[in-house]
Amino acid sequence: MKSTLFKKIKDNEMFKRIKISSLLKKIKNGSPKLLKKTKNEYLGRSVVTVFGFFIIILTLLITGFLIYKGIGTFVVQKHSIFEFLFSNKFAPQDIVGSTQKGQVGAAVFIAGSIIISLFALLIATPFAIAAAIFINEISPRLGKRFLQPAIEIFVGIPSVVYGWIGLSILVPFIANIFKLPYGFNVLSGAIVLSLMIFPTITSISVDAIRNVPIEYKEASYSLGSTRWQMIRRIQIRSALPGILTGVVLGLTRAFGEALAVAMVIGRREQFPKFNNGFLDGLLSATSTLTSKIASDMGNTVTGSEWNNALWSMALLLFIISFLFIILIRFLSRKGSRQKV
């Protein structure tokens, strides 16, 4: 028994040193069981490696195709990037190979996306941090039993359902309160979005606050702080990189959300009227990158100026989500350095 075990260990060692073909030849005559084992070993390893690499290939494919389709506006129709990013005139041609040039300014949609996501963050972040503090410090018992399951359910509700609720409750409600003909506006969109991103921010903030070393807390208490002082000056401050990671993740989700926003934003191609005052801005209908893609893509002809402009917007969304990832990496590196 002992000697066979020893032999197996020796054989395992041999994997590393001897070429696989010669090893296979050697054990072919000796032990068929060991042969099968060796084959499985290498087969399994190859299969999982192939699938690992498949993910890289898939990502490269998506990136490649998005770039290929997205630069059509600038290469085929020869619009300037400046026009795409900063002009507010969007009237592209929908004929392939047309010599007439339309306008592909996407500034309205870009501004709409940014404004609505920022407002959603502004609403969601304070609530999310409050919920995270509640779960960690104020009442972990109630938090674990009620608030955390509730947040998980919030995550589970599909985005279309949020949009639908927004459409059937929030939009009429806002029209009613502000005496407007329609309630489709930035405010409705931001509220719906904030409901969707609040669980993301909360669950990451909960982890961030939980990971603050307990010594910090003890030191703060022993210096005579009240609980709120400890939370405000010690926990939130040390958990800040983690909380910010959650905020950026929420922002990523808000930026990429399409249908729920499209349902309540009004989809009008104009800037929110913030020049008439803050409230007017909040209460004006606008459009976002995602809602424009969702509503127009089906009506365009492949390769036309209009179609290409929509692909350029998709490329822009991709670039923005990539920038957010870099930001998150930066934040998490900062967080881990702080802990050392």
Binding site: I151, S159, I169, G256, L259
Partner: protein, 291 residues
């Protein structure tokens, strides 16, 4: 007691009260929201609305489950294998870094962008109409990073003593993975898969340009090659979530509001059931393994 002390104590009490109010506000909000969705959905439900003909949503319910099932058949093997690779075979270095960045990129992609990509590859390039397989492909792209990450975490979470024990009695690495690591990581992997499925049920943005917004199927035709058969994966298919969107965008039936309400309610119940199921199953398997 001096003034600063007093002020600090008042601030502490106020903050506590405000935090309690916020927490109860959220629970109340959830109760009201789900209550509203369910009440509104089932308020005037008739058997016909739940059925498989006319304006019933039975077809969409079937499509939703079928599409998610197909997408799991695609994404689970890929996700689990990639997760095993990440946890057991990858060595720190440039390639692992690229793989990790790829997973992050995939998981933060806006779903509409994924939908456009799947449209390009699986609908336009193949010269087909909107089809179920394209939709399942799009949902798979969304769930692969999720399943990969869960699998990696779960396998990394298995105590090293398990590995040592397995190697100690002469198992190879692959035997250790298949017979020791995967079974002990299974509860967490299954929980992750079910959560991915739950996300798939609610996905709509990635589906409107891949699997389409309508379906024309005949439930007496079970020949998978026929275009009207429910089993055909190359037919157009609209899921519940897409149905809600379509009813909002182009609902012309007089009761489209009611159908959308009912669809939302059924969808929410479906997601709840899956979340509950994942917890229950996770607990069940843990219990079974521990004996």
């Amino acid at each position: 007691m001096n003034k600063i002390h007093k002020r600090a104590k008042i601030a502490d009490k106020t903050a506590t009260i405000i935090l309690y109010i916020t927490a109860s506000f959220f629970i109340l909000l959830l109760v009201v929201l789900t209550g509203y969705i369910l009440f509104q959905g089932f308020r005037a439900v008739t058997p016909q609305l739940l059925g498989f003909s006319g304006d019933g949503i039975g077809i969409q319910l079937f499509n939703t489950i079928y599409l998610v099932l197909i997408s799991l058949i695609i994404s689970v093997p890929i996700g689990i294998c990639a997760g095993i690779y990440m946890a057991e075979y990858s060595r720190p270095g440039r390639i692992t870094n690229i793989l990790r960045s790829s997973i992050e990129t995939l998981s933060s992609l806006p779903s509409i962008v994924v939908g456009l990509f799947a449209f390009l590859i699986l609908v336009e390039a193949t010269h087909m109409q909107y089809n179920l397989l394209a939709g399942a492909g799009a949902v798979s792209i969304l769930s692969i990073p999720l399943i990969t990450r869960v699998t990696e975490d779960a396998i990394r979470g298995v105590p090293d003593s398990y590995r040592e024990g397995s190697y100690g009695i002469g198992a190879t690495k692959w035997q250790t993975i298949v017979k020791i690591l995967i079974p002990s990581a299974l509860p967490r992997i299954i929980t992750g898969i079910i959560l991915a499925a739950g996300r798939g049920f609610g996905e709509a943005a990635a589906l409107i340009y891949t699997s389409g917004m309508s379906s024309d199927i005949d439930f007496s035709n079970w020949n998978p090659a026929s275009i009207t058969s429910p089993l055909n994966i190359f037919r157009p298919c609209d899921t519940l979530a897409v149905h809600i969107w379509a009813l909002k965008a182009e609902g012309i039936a007089s009761n489209s509001q009611q159908i959308a309400d009912l669809s939302a309610a059924v969808l929410v119940i479906l997601v709840f059931l899956f979340n509950l199921g994942s917890r229950f199953l996770g607990r069940f398997i843990t219990k079974k393994n521990s004996i």
